[in-house]
Amino acid sequence: MQQPNLTPTANLMLRETASQTAGPYVHIGLALAVAGLPERDEEIWNELAKDNAEGERIEVAGRVIDGNGDLVRDALLEAWQADANGDYQTAFDLKAPFNSFGRTATTAEGNSEWRFVTVKPGAIARPDGRTMAPHINLTIFARGVNLHLQTRLYFDDEQKANAGCPVLGAIESPARRQTLIARREEGGEGGLPRYRLDIVLQGEGETVFFDF
């Protein structure tokens, strides 16, 4: 007996496996230390850039907030971003100074902030001649989220690039574009400049989420 999605449909295409929530214990699988499990030799975590990575080393951090204004304390986030030159490093390698991919989580205790240490990504030219402003692609998984949410983090000190970015421009409401712009502040961990962005799942100030 086969799963039904292995039967070709009329248009000769299989159906995608359906999504289910990552649940409250996602950390066991994807963030072992947060669950209280011993870590394996190599884990995927939140330091995308070591101190010898090329570019401006920064911290990005924020909270995840639900429709009641409460902190979402069991979210897992994934980052995917270009390096300082605007190139994606697809070969994940913990020995490399920079990786384009990382994971972080909000936590049950304290102020429940997620956090990445990375470098500010470069701008990216599209073949149509338009340029995407520096950004970090973020994916959000959590209990109560049936299919992961996809968004982008932009930087408030890139006003000119942001104004010309075709993806920000695709958001019809100018006010809603602001939900993707992280604010720079001084005094991150280890003296790194910190960009802060809260992700609001629902209601006032709801973050823009993308379909792609």
Binding site: E16, T17, I28, L37, A82, T90, P127, G144, G203
Partner: protein, 245 residues
């Protein structure tokens, strides 16, 4: 600033009627966590969505895919309690093309339905020889294998008497962040499946069927372990042969 690469690639559009909706009030936690605004569709996919990490250089431990052996009581090491099972399958895309060398991760409760997580306080005890996490890369033909025990069902606060069917959480990356997917594998024939509010977030019975691991006697090991086959289908990859003008 660099020029875009990989742009002759695109993916079949994700069918959001097939997947569960964000707002599914039968699963109560989704109520305050579901966006109320429409998603913004990116009409022109860029390198940001069309690429993703590959993990050939992620160093795996020898037992990362063997949950019978990868967590052992330091004082009196032994095997975990529960039904021994082999969970295996193939990662393919919607056109049936295998997805080689992609990262598959899984996590689960123990045989009593208890997770080794500091936030789980269910009555059932922890198993000193069971952690509940596995990972591996698919081989060149897209196959993956785990050895584990069958997790137990457990109660959770949603309705007054709501139970999760036995399930294993499964995470797959696929060729790009566009194909990223997290799901759960259920066990064929479990009577808790049709009454689970999380399963019921799906409207289509056929979609539920994509999440059912099937008993495979041929690949079961006599006097050792039953096998359950769970194939994962990620979005189909297409090449774009013509310029968009």
């Amino acid at each position: 600033m660099s020029l875009n690469r990989n742009l002759n690639r695109r993916f079949v559009e994700r069918d959001r009627q097939w997947h569960p909706a964000a707002y599914t009030p039968g699963y109560k936690t989704s109520v305050p966590r579901s966006p109320s605004q429409a998603l913004v569709s990116l009409q022109t996919p860029s390198v940001s969505e069309l690429t993703g990490p590959e993990f050939r250089r992620l160093r795996m431990g020898p037992h990362d895919n063997d949950l019978l052996l990868n967590f052992r009581d330091a004082d009196s090491p032994g095997l975990p309690v529960g039904e021994r099972v082999i969970m295996f399958g193939r990662v393919v895309d919607q056109f049936g093309k295998p997805v080689p060398q992609t990262l598959v991760e899984m996590w689960q409760a123990n045989a009593g339905g208890r997770y080794r997580h500091k936030k789980d306080s269910y009555l059932a005890p922890l198993d000193p020889n069971f952690g509940g996490v596995g990972r591996c890369l698919t081989d060149d033909d897209g196959w993956y294998h785990f050895r584990t025990i069958k997790p137990g069902p457990y109660p959770w606060p949603n309705g007054i008497n709501t139970w999760r069917p036995a399930h294993i959480h499964v995470s797959v990356m696929g060729p790009a962040i566009s194909t990223r997917l997290i799901t759960q594998m259920y066990f064929e024939g479990d009577p808790l499946i049709p009454i689970c509010p999380i399963v019921q977030t799906l409207k289509d019975e056929e979609a539920v069927g994509t999440m059912i691991g099937r008993l495979d006697m041929a690949r079961s090991r006599p006097m050792d372990a039953l096998a359950y086959r769970f194939d994962l289908v990620v979005r189909g990859e297409l090449q774009t042969y013509f310029e968009n003008q």
